[in-house]
């Protein structure tokens, strides 16, 4: 199957129903339900330890639910099975192989799938070009700045043209400037790829700025609230200064605080 044909398949819809995850008998995620639309950008915020990572990992199939269900649908709403190419992950630590060059790291998912060397390096190169990482392809990850490493990790996640992109506090370890730049990058990538994006973040501003909807996981263990729809005049500098942006942040903040008061 060619690498390019995938962009047309559209984002995956995700239907999470009464998801609950226990570790050694204690709830990590109490009750999460959300219907993520195909091609939607959903941000998840919540108390630390509230199960955001757990929910994201469950969606990605990295851990099994104790109860509840997660199903995937295509653009038309029909139920589908997901393959390893359909989901891209981006973790805060980047998780690059330190002994591989940037290009070889980005090509890894295709390599593990048995895509030939020429084809996978071409795909990696195209992805790196898109991420404005030309010129560092032959460098080792340890030679890059934190922001560049994160871009490489994003390029790797996107190289299979996933239909669902899962991001777990990807820019949490970066400074403010780098983070804003990468936020903009992520937004445009999400739009042009058509993939559904689920972003876990501890920054309310980031959550609101990027998302179509914000899901608050309240309390510890987390319980999902009704997602807050985000509509902004724009997503750039002006958007961040807008009244709508400020009031949406306040709404999310209030939804969160109600959670911590209950817990206290």
């Amino acid at each position: 199957m060619s690498v390019d044909g995938r962009a047309l398949r559209g984002g995956l819809g995700v239907r999470v129903r009464d998801a609950r995850v226990q570790f050694q008998g204690t709830d990590a995620l109490a009750n999460a339900s959300v219907h993520i639309q195909s091609g939607e950008f959903l941000s998840i915020v919540g108390d630390s330890g509230g199960g955001k990572t757990t929910l994201l990992r469950a969606i990605g199939g990295l851990l099994a639910l104790t109860s509840g269900s997660i199903d995937f649908t295509d653009v038309a709403g029909a139920s589908v099975q997901v393959g390893p190419r359909d989901v891209g992950f981006c973790f805060q630590e980047g998780r690059l192989l330190p002994w591989r060059t940037v290009a070889a790291n980005v090509a890894l998912p295709l390599e593990l799938e048995g895509v030939g060397k020429g084809e996978r390096l071409d795909a990696a190169h195209a992805m790196l070009e898109r991420m404005r990482l030309v010129g560092v392809e032959r460098k080792m990850p340890s030679q890059l700045s934190g922001g560049m490493r994160m871009r490489v990790a994003m390029a790797r996640a996107l190289v299979t043209r996933p239909r669902l992109l899962l991001l777990d506090e990807p820019f949490g370890a970066l400074d403010e400037f780098t983070r804003v730049a990468l936020d903009e990058e992520l937004l445009s990538l999400a739009r042009e790829s058509g993939a559904t994006c689920v972003l876990v973040t501890h920054s309310i501003q980031e959550a609101v700025l990027l998302a179509d909807r914000v899901l608050v996981l309240r309390g510890r263990p987390g319980v999902s609230q009704t997602p807050i729809a985000v509509s902004l005049p724009s997503r750039d500098e002006d958007g961040r200064m807008s009244l709508e942006f400020a009031s949406l942040c306040a709404i999310v903040q209030r939804e969160l605080r109600a959670g911590s008061e209950r817990a206290a």
Partner: protein, 260 residues
């Protein structure tokens, strides 16, 4: 260059002073040569017996290098096998630990029975003592593979072979290099001890045989010469292994890469 000189100077200086003291002590107390030959006497013996010592050094070097190579190969393969299977590890690792505690001198006669006198036996002796550190460091390194990276390989459904070759083995390289450095020193010890028992006593006699023969002839100067040469073999092997390790590890360390 300047830095390597700075590293090499102090120990060389200490060595020189020690040799001078030694020379002085032997001269002052008029110690007999069979008890403690002076460094100059040892140097003279080295020169006079250069043919015999040269041949012996070559034999010991072959046994050490061959034994080390075999140990590195077997150690990495066996360590990888144990590292990829919990069952194999449970079954074999405790036995490997026990086996490693059997003294080499006790096994050496068996090697003579199976492999005869000569290089094959001494090489095997070197390999036997050197294999365990490589095996253990391979196993350790593989088990220390970052869980996050493992998850990446899981997400893309990597097969067992890909996991080993592309993730676990590269992760284990720093640990394996450390194990190999230990093994390099041990291989020389194994070779010389093996030679005591199973060395071939002829005109191509290895250093271990030179040592035991010279001891019987009260040629203490030759014993010292052979000991010094076996130490040199050890240094050489250690140096080569460290150098190769550095070349491999360069990819893991940014500082080393940027220096080029």
């Amino acid at each position: 260059m300047k830095r390597s000189l700075l590293v090499a100077m102090p120990p060389l200086l200490v060595l020189l002073i020690a040799l001078l003291l030694w020379e002085g002590v032997v001269a002052a107390w008029k110690l007999p040569a069979y008890l403690l030959p002076s460094p100059s006497a040892v140097a003279r013996a080295c020169w006079e017996e250069r043919a015999r010592l040269g041949a012996g050094t070559l034999q010991t070097l072959m046994a050490s290098v061959g034994g080390f190579g075999l140990a590195a190969l077997i150690g990495v393969v066996a360590g990888s096998a144990l590292g990829s299977s919990r069952m194999l590890q449970r079954g074999f690792y405790p036995l490997a630990l026990l086996f490693q505690m059997v003294p080499l001198v006790a096994i050496a006669p068996l090697l003579v029975i199976w492999l005869g006198y000569g290089l094959r036996s001494t090489l095997a002796a070197a390999a036997i003592v050197a294999v365990f550190p490589v095996l253990a460091s391979t196993l350790d390194g593989m088990r220390g593979t970052d869980a996050g990276l493992r998850e990446i390989f899981g997400i893309y459904r990597a097969g067992r072979w890909a996991r080993w070759w592309k993730l676990e083995l590269p992760s284990a390289v720093p640990s394996i290099v450390t194990g190999c450095r230990v093994a390099a020193g041990l291989a020389v010890i194994g070779a010389v001890v093996g030679e005591f028992v199973s060395g071939y006593a002829g005109d191509q006699a290895p250093l271990g045989i030179v040592i035991t023969a010279s001891m019987r002839e009260a040629r203490t100067d030759l014993v010292f010469a052979a000991v010094a040469l076996s130490a040199c073999v050890g240094f050489l092997l250690f140096g080569i292994v460290s150098g190769l390790g550095w070349l491999l590890l360069r990819r893991w360390h940014a500082s080393a890469v940027q220096e080029n």
